[in-house]
Amino acid sequence: MTMQNIALAKPAAAQQSRTSPLVVRNLGGIVLVAVIGAIFAFPILWATLASFKSTTEIITKTFPLSWASFVPLQATLENYVYLFTEVNFQLNLLNTVIAGAGQVGLAVVVSSLAGYAFARLRFPGRELVFALFLLTAFIPVEAIIVPLYQIMQQMGLVSTFPALFLPFACNPFGIFMMRQAFRDVPLEMEEAAKIDGCGPLRVFLIIALPNVKPTLATLVLIQFIWSWNAYLWPLVVMQDPTKQIAQVAIANLKSLPNIPMDGPLFAAATAVTIPLVILSIVLQRYYVRGLVTSGMK
């Protein structure tokens, strides 16, 4: 025992002196990893810096290459002022939040209910219906956008807020994720509640739901990010500009003919992207788990 302790203590003591050789030995790797990080961060940082340049500076100073290609030499907030006074971008942000709240709220309720039923309740056809959900999980909105739009038209929902989030109420990934989480809740806890006289609905609400909070957080985050980043469906189904969401409004800044809007474009891109980037990095434990399980069938 003593021998072992000494043997163990030796490398620990040596570690101090070894720290610098460790860095030196891995210097190539460290530099490589840092450069890779820089490549991935670059477009976001570049756009953020550009949002503090005037449109003229962006157009005339990016080319040829100089410091002005990257850094705003005469930093200005004029793009943000323009965005929030002339374009009413805050209205688009508000619409994005409304659509996001609708989608998150609906999808969380629908996924929890269905996930619990698939995990714990026995009813005929359960496996078949669950298989149907999984089977259709990989049909993205891009593939069915045309018939989906026609159906929205028949339902009279075009250009309404519900049209922005109703189609995403049933999220097969969410159902799958919740089913896995409910399956991991110890069965004994639910049995105990049943013996105490709880009906299945009360077991679900009082025992099961509080035990899957981390998965609920993951689902809320993933669903929120999907909704926040949606572009194509709002573009098609929302034809009322006062109810349009931010992502589409940003893209509209690109297509104004003959009036370069590069400054406001970068400002708007920064305003919607940076909060989300910070959110996904801070909450990456949940975000990554959601992304990875959404891929794990």
Partner: protein
């Protein structure tokens, strides 16, 4: 006896209660599925067998497979599935090996790993629309950043998105930047699930680092690789937003794919029948991919 009878009856009631509650709990999800997935698919399938008057979209009758035959005759359509395939091959072919390399590198947990991992997650959390708009600015041929960098390096300027031969590759490079985070994270999760002792045992047995990777780590990552392959194939098949924002399918259809083509048929050329046929073709591609993954996963389970 009587007690057993009541027990059984109580269980019976419990069962029918579960049936009722279970159905009620699945119902909202099922309604969503039926209205917004199954119905659109069914209506696309039916529409693809009819023709329509262009403006009021009233059906003018059943035409069998005529829409599919017309699609095949349309030269624009021929480029759409070819490009869909090109996007799949290029995006999957680049992201999977690159993501594997990045995951192994990040798994070494060097001091800069957190920074790189955060940057990759940031790219993943950026929307497709913003990514396309920002890269569009960088690709801009006359005043854009990439040509400024090329000129500073004394390299020839490139037309990027404005050239038929470079536009698709330019979109692919941007997509790799944005989407590679997903396979990287899947591989990192896979690598962390491998017990530390396994590669260590291989090393003790005299395997080199490279041999350990190819013969020990890689086979153990197979489930992760199958999932990542599948996710990236779906990502590549459904490519839409960047193409719409950056090139609208041009120049001369060079970046058009099935997803964008059916959108254009429906909303720009007012031909619902053809659009529906194109939708069914795309769903067909996705179904093939799904079936292939199901097959691969089954293969894994049986081993």
């Amino acid at each position: 006896m009587a007690a057993a009878g009541t027990m059984a009856r109580r269980r019976q009631i419990g069962r029918s209660g579960e049936l009722l509650l279970g159905s009620a709990m699945v119902l909202p999800a099922f309604v969503g599925l039926a209205l917004f997935k199954l119905w659109p698919l069914l209506s696309a399938a039916l529409d693809s067998l009819q023709t329509f008057r262009p403006f009021d979209r009233v059906s003018t009758g059943w035409v069998g497979l005529q829409n599919y035959i017309d699609l095949l005759a349309d030269p624009d359509f021929r480029s759409a599935p070819v490009n869909t395939l090109l996007y799949i091959v290029l995006i999957v072919g680049i992201t999977i090996p690159l993501a594997l390399y990045l995951a192994v590198l990040l798994d070494r947990r060097l001091p800069a790993s957190t920074w790189a991992r955060n940057a990759i997650i940031a790219a993943l959390a950026t929307s497709e629309a913003v990514t396309a708009l920002v890269w569009n600015q960088m690709y801009e041929p006359s005043v854009g950043l990439f040509n400024a960098i090329l000129t500073a390096l004394h390299l020839p300027e490139q037309p990027f998105l404005t050239s038929g031969s470079e536009a698709l590759v330019s979109i692919v490079i941007m997509t790799v930047w944005k989407e590679i985070g997903l396979p990287v994270l899947i591989f990192l999760a896979g690598l962390q699930a491998i017990p530390q002792e396994v590669p260590e045992a291989a090393k003790l047995d005299g395997a080199s680092e490279r041999q350990t990777f190819w013969y020990v780590t890689l086979p153990m990552l197979k489930p992760s690789i199958v999932v990542a392959l599948f996710m990236m194939t779906v990502t590549a098949t459904r490519m839409f937003t960047p193409i719409l924002i950056m090139t609208q399918g041009g120049p001369q259809g060079a970046t058009n794919n099935l997803a964008l083509y059916s959108y254009q048929l429906a909303f720009e050329y007012q031909s619902p029948g053809l659009a529906a046929a194109s939708v069914i073709c795309m769903v067909g591609v996705l179904a093939l991919v799904t079936a292939a993954q199901g097959y691969l996963l089954q293969d894994k389970d049986s081993k």
